[in-house]
């Protein structure tokens, strides 16, 4: 009997996932380089009802409903904001910075709000060192990163104007299918077989084997904003709300019908 209620129930549950996702997106609207999530639905596998004797089956696809099929991320670029902080870097185009997690795994992030840790290494906001490592000399006074990822510093007091000296080279990793990456929080992703093997290269270079794809160039003193658009989220929420209430209404009606059947013998 409860199978009657499955379809509207699935409708309610699925729309609930949309509300949760929108809440997540909107709460990250000011998170640097956050990539918005969206919920994609699919109808559920249909159940074959056994026909009665030689009658054609009365209903081939009863029950059913809907389920969230995937919650992909949109990897569309956010917009770039010049912050003026020399340790803020953004990738203008495809790719991720690589960092090393505490457990040794490599994580990928587009959030370039870097800092220098106690050991002089360039680290992410979460404190994980950037790969390949960039060691900033203690007496460095000025810091500059070229679009091709070359990191230069000037040492000593500004008025003495030492020569600029290269201390490192940033690299960018590009995945065949970034949708396959798994978020591990703090704006970081880890690779999965679905994402494919990353190609690592110098910003601005062509990705090997790809005719028209380049590793994204580095923007200096700039951060990328989230790609959450409040107008899109609000529209999605309105649609989810309508879908939710229509499923709630069908649930109510089916309940009324079942109550009617239960009260046949009064």
């Amino acid at each position: 009997m409860l199978s009657y209620l499955r379809a509207p129930l699935a409708g309610l549950r699925s729309q609930q996932v949309v509300f949760d996702t929108i809440a997540h997106n909107l709460s990250n609207i000011n998170t640097n380089s956050f990539r918005r999530l969206q919920v994609d639905f699919a109808d559920v596998i249909y159940r074959q009802i056994q026909p009665v004797q030689d009658q054609p089956p009365t209903a081939r696809n009863l029950s059913g409903g809907v389920l969230p099929e995937a919650i992909p991320r949109s990897f569309a670029l956010g917009h770039f904001e010049v912050t003026g902080d020399p340790l803020d870097l953004a990738i203008n185009g495809e790719g991720f910075f690589q960092t090393q997690l505490a457990d040794g795994r490599i994580a990928y992030t587009r959030d370039g709000s870097f800092a220098v840790d106690a050991n002089g290494r360039l680290v992410t906001a979460a404190g994980n060192p950037l790969l390949p490592e960039v060691q900033v000399p203690e007496d460095a006074t000025r810091f500059y990163v070229y679009p091709n990822g070359a990191v230069f510093v000037q040492r000593g007091a500004a008025d003495r104007a030492d020569a600029w000296q290269q201390i490192g080279q940033l690299q960018v990793a590009v995945f065949p299918n970034p949708q396959g990456l798994i978020s591990v929080g703090a704006n970081q992703f880890v690779a999965t077989p679905a994402a494919g093997a990353p190609q690592v290269g110098t910003p601005g270079d062509l990705v090997p084997g790809e005719a028209n794809l380049r590793f994204g160039e580095v923007l200096f003193a700039t951060l990328e904003s989230s790609n959450v658009n409040p107008a899109v989220e609000t529209t999605t929420m309105l649609m989810a709300q309508r879908a939710y209430s229509v499923s709630a209404r069908t649930l109510q009606v089916l309940d009324e019908m079942l109550a009617g059947a239960a009260n046949l013998r009064r």
Binding site: N212, V246, T250, V253, G260
Partner: protein, 258 residues
């Protein structure tokens, strides 16, 4: 009278089936490419009924072949749901591999268990570089082969031609079927079609990049039908109860002495 009870019960069951199909449609109002199911009701086979053959010298006698009165239907059942293949509304997403079909036709998806068809055009480039759907099925081109695409910016024209930097790298396959083809839903937005696929007519059918086609469920009509099904269920239920009351009288009161 018992026959009437069965007719009322059959009507209740049929309305319940209709309600379930409507609930399923309404649960999928936001499912891209979903095609609405339609329920039609069908009467049970008609059967002839006869009047009791009244003979003057006996109060009531019923002969085997009484006076034919006509035919009577004894109930109703919900028929197989059929698919409404009307165009659904397009929604812009801006995602480069979201495709919508306008006009008749389906995308072909190769899965380990066969080729299936769908109107749900949310595609991605998988780890091997092929166009695939979100469940991992491979999208087939016009030549029924997987389409390998380079990363980076792609342009897809109305005929489904995929270009990277002006160079054609493949063509999305859009297929139509003869009108008598049997189309069956198997879930996850896929349809199983028995029938020979033909390339869709490029005049009638166009592909739109950066859009998805939405579910074609008509919410207004479906909600109205939900109410209609509820009321006709209630009417049948009332009928069943009344017949039950009549039966109760027959059993309890007819022939009672004193």
């Amino acid at each position: 009278m018992i026959r009437g009870m069965y007719a009322a019960a059959a009507a209740m069951l049929a309305q319940m089936v209709r309600q379930q199909v409507l609930a399923h449609n309404l649960a999928n109002v936001n499912t891209p490419g979903y095609r609405q199911d339609r329920v039609s009701l069908r009467q049970f086979p008609l059967r002839p009924i006869s009047a009791p053959d009244v003979v003057p010298d006996r109060p009531v006698a019923v002969s085997a072949a009484g006076l034919p009165l006509g035919q009577m239907a004894t109930g109703v059942l919900a028929d197989l749901p059929s698919l409404n293949l009307q165009q659904g509304p397009l929604r812009e997403t801006g995602e480069p591999l979201d495709m919508a079909i306008v006009g008749p036709g389906f995308f072909a998806i190769q899965r380990p268990d066969g080729v299936f068809y769908t109107r749900d055009g949310r595609f991605v480039r998988n780890a091997e570089g092929f166009v695939s759907d979100e469940a991992g099925g491979i999208v087939l081109g016009q030549d029924l082969q997987p389409i390998a695409i380079p990363a980076g910016t792609l342009h897809v024209d109305a005929a489904g031609m995929i270009r990277a930097d002006g160079v054609v790298v493949g063509q999305l396959g859009v297929f139509t079927f003869p009108p008598d083809a049997d189309i069956e839903k198997i879930g996850i937005n896929l349809l199983r079609v028995t029938g020979a696929p033909q390339a869709a007519d490029p005049v009638l059918t166009t592909v739109h990049q950066g859009f998805i086609e939405f579910s074609n469920v008509d919410v207004t009509q479906s909600t109205t039908e939900v109410l209609a099904a509820l009321r006709s269920y209630e009417a049948s239920q009332r009928l069943l109860q009344m017949q039950d009351q009549l039966l109760e009288r027959v059993v309890g009161e007819v022939g009672r002495v004193g």
